[in-house]
């Protein structure tokens, strides 16, 4: 079974993934697809007893993720970037894990991987403040993403490309590490 078919199974009611569906206005459509781990999806939309600061942060998260889905111009540095695994300098990006970076404070990073071109699966998140404590924190999130991916898609590798265009359409290449 292909990864995409497995995503569709996981997105069934009660499944472990949810499709992120921003509010689309006018002629906006779902240009790119974003599947989100259910626990993460619940956090993004949970509003009960949340403070204004938390509500604002989640609003920025939804707004940022919505850019991806609407097919807006994004880039591989500020919007989302490949996460370096500095434990293995010769294979920095072979794990295929990316981090989406909502830019407004308080900041969070959303880790995950591409299932195919223009289809990202967001699996776990961490606050930017926590990640700044050490490189090990980043590596822990890479490991969490990799584990969740393996559990969701046994035997199916993450999508890997050679260029930014292999991963995503309408994207500006700013990352000099390609």
């Amino acid at each position: 079974m292909s990864t995409v078919l497995m995503i569709r199974v996981h997105e069934q009611p009660g499944g472990q993934l949810c499709r992120f569906k921003p509010k689309l206005r006018g002629d906006e459509t779902e240009v790119r697809k974003l599947s989100v781990y259910r626990e993460l999806h619940d956090w993004i939309y949970a509003e009960a007893e949340a403070s204004d600061v938390t509500m604002e942060a989640k609003g920025h998260v939804r707004g940022h993720l919505g850019q991806f889905v609407r097919g807006e111009l994004i880039d591989d540095y500020y919007f989302m970037k490949r996460v370096e695994d500095r434990r293995f300098p010769m294979a920095m990006f072979s794990h295929g894990i990316w981090a989406i970076s909502p830019r407004f404070n308080p900041q969070y990073r959303f880790f995950g991987a591409f299932a195919t071109h223009d289809w990202f699966v967001a699996l776990n998140k961490q606050s930017r403040d926590a990640l700044e404590q050490s490189e090990a924190c980043w590596h822990a999130e890479i490991d969490t993403s990799t584990k969740l991916w393996s559990d969701l898609f046994p035997g199916r590798p993450v999508f890997i490309g050679d260029t930014l265009g292999d991963f995503v359409s309408n994207a500006e290449k700013l990352d000099a590490r390609w």
């Binding site: 509010k23 006018g26 002629d27 509500m55 609003g59 707004g63 830019r103």
Partner: protein, 117 residues
């Protein structure tokens, strides 16, 4: 019709983020289309280049004053439009939203991009 309908806090904050992002993208688009450097803008505003860099890469929170100062440094005037949801159009690759009739009239907060004489 939305008039009189209670809006959730979540929807308000999400729209705020989208609007803020639109302003940010308009600023970046104007900068790309200008021939100015960050140094030149910093000099115009008597500001540190690192501040201009942070504004353009999105790591500095935007205020209306910041947008206005940046616009002035790029020889632009801000134009704010309230676009009904039904008329919202997909953003083009350069971050500019086009109107229904595709006349390429910008609806972003930063208006004409040509520099003042």
């Amino acid at each position: 019709m939305l008039v009189g309908k209670a809006l959730s806090k979540g929807d308000l904050w999400e729209e705020y983020s989208i609007n803020l992002h639109g302003a940010y993208e308009a600023m970046r688009s104007a900068f790309r289309q200008s021939t100015l450097t960050q140094d030149a803008i910093a000099e115009s505003l008597d500001a540190d280049k690192s501040l201009i860099s942070r504004r353009l890469n999105g790591s500095e929170n935007l205020t209306f004053k910041t947008l206005s100062f940046m616009a002035s440094a790029m020889g632009c005037r801000l134009t704010v439009l309230f676009t009904p949801y039904k008329d919202v159009r997909k953003r083009s690759a350069d971050g500019v939203t086009f109107r229904t009739d595709d006349t390429a009239e910008v609806s972003d907060p930063i208006g004409p991009l040509s520099k003042a004489a």
